[in-house]
Amino acid sequence: MNGDAREPLVIRLASHGVQVAFLVVLLVAWLLATHVWHVSSILLPNPVDVWRQLVDVIRSGEFIYDLRITLSEFVAAFIIATVLGVTVGYFVSRSPYLIKVFEPLFAAIYAIPIILFLPLYVMVWGLGPASKIALGATISFFPIVMNTVVGFGNIDRTLTAAAKSMGASNIQMFRHVLLPGALPVVLAGLRMGFTVALLSVIGSETIASLAGLGHRIVNLAENMEMARMFAYIVFVVAIVAVLNAGISMVEAYARWR
């Protein structure tokens, strides 16, 4: 059942073949649907039209306004969540008792979709960027704080005992034992927080906003500009993918160091 390292070349090629076939079938179905089966263009725009709209959006620079708003909201939310999450997480991790008190609390809150509280944030901060930043920071806080608690709290006790027995001061303990030991887990938490902050910002823009990429897609849907909407969807998916790849590289680089 567990795959062995050297699959016969045939199987590897065949499985990649299936993947390619999947994409091809999807694309062909899309083309057929719009050109041959006459699915209404209100529901499913023509891939050619979508491509044209995408090119137009990029060339005209129309995307810049919304992209800038979304990105600034996202970055602000992530920074706030990181600062709060790491600080709170570190201090909670210092005491096994505090960990026992707070860890289940964090886990329970994180288990529910916090986006649920968006209307409350909108009521207090309005439809502008503030509510998105606040909600994004709230949602992003949890994976960061939980991973920080685990990262610092789960350092092998033998290591801290050894350092202590050799006379390490508190600062030395933090710099040379706690920080390097906790770093992989904390980084993984930051990575989750990163992704979650981005998705939550786009999600809140979709539900209640006056600007930003999420809002733009909704706007186009309401105006039934299907092709342009699909173009923006493709654009946003690409942006998310690029950002995710970027953070992966940062994480890999940090680990290597």
Binding site: P96, K100, P104, D156, T158, L159, A161, A162, A163, K164, S165, M166, G167, A168, S169, Q172, H176, V177, P180, G181
Partner: protein, 284 residues
């Protein structure tokens, strides 16, 4: 024994974890007293959970006992004393993100050794254990036996008079244990270090120790002390001598009932839903 000859003096140490009545309450040690002479290798042996590792931790200042005192030389132990005592743990005590060499240098940094001396001392310590070729390796790249030698090198580099070793060869296979035991004996004959050595292994205790303190089952107290009169460095041939077997049998006779007693105790309290496993700390 005069106080000049006593390196470590343990008086009436008792230690418990948790409060009486709590699920995790454990009385690890009860009225334990011990004198460790300067320059001897003193073994602590006993069944699982008898508190020998806890006692080592108390001696080293990492655990404050519920009652009782420990004196090292003429100083009372109130916390870690990096200039006087160096630990060698069973495993995982090397920082995995540093090379072997960096690990040793870092240990000296903690102790407060001046920067100029560190690298030279680290080199010498690695040579003493035969690991100089592996200085730039990471602990994860080394075998268990080599890791423990590196841990020993780190302890040696701190140039303390006393070494506290908590089952240092416990995670290794028997063959490696035997070889490292011989090396330790050679080391002891060359330096005048005092070593307190916790072990489970009867053979190891008889082979290495000048004196063996036998612990009772939990709550641990010292039942008896056996003297092994054989000069260091001890050769492998010692293990086949009749004297060795007699001592080993005597040790087993003392331990036998205690081992049976300890086997009927449960290791962990029953967990309630939602509780993570309790960490009973240093109970061993």
């Amino acid at each position: 024994m005069t106080s000049a000859e006593t390196a470590i003096c343990v008086r009436d140490v008792s230690h418990q974890f948790g409060e009486a009545g709590q699920a995790r309450y454990v009385q690890a040690l009860k009225n334990t007293s011990l004198d460790v002479a300067r320059g001897e290798l003193h073994c602590l042996i006993g069944p699982s959970g008898c508190g020998k590792s806890t006692l080592l931790s108390v001696i080293g200042g990492l655990t404050t006992p519920t009652t009782g005192t420990v004196t090292v030389g003429d100083k009372a132990v109130r916390g870690p004393m990096p200039r006087d005592l160096a630990f060698v743990f069973q495993e995982n005590a090397l920082f995995p993100w540093n090379t072997v060499f960096e690990n040793i240098v870092l240990g000296m940094k903690f102790q407060g050794v001046p920067k100029a001396e560190r690298r030279e001392r680290a080199r010498r310590a690695l040579e003493a254990v035969g690991l100089d070729a592996f200085a730039e390796h990471f602990p994860g790249q080394l075998s268990g036996g080599m890791r423990q030698r590196a841990a020993l090198a780190r302890a040696l580099s701190l140039e303390t008079d006393i070494l506290l070793m908590d089952e240092p060869f416990g995670a290794l296979d028997e063959q490696t244990r035997m070889v490292l035991g011989e090396d330790l004996s050679v080391l002891l004959s060359r330096s005048r270090k005092t070593i307190v050595f916790v072990t489970h292994s009867l053979g190891e205790a008889v082979f290495l120790a000048d004196r063996v303190a036998v612990f009772s089952a939990r709550p641990g107290t010292i039942k008896d002390i056996i003297t092994i009169d054989e000069p260091h460095p001890r050769k492998p041939s010692f293990m086949t001598a009749p004297k060795f077997h007699a001592l080993r049998d005597r040790l087993y006779g003392l331990l036998h009932d205690e081992i049976r007693k300890s086997m009927t105790e449960t290791a962990q309290p029953r967990r309630r839903y939602g509780e993570a496993a309790e960490n009973t700390g240093d109970a061993a």
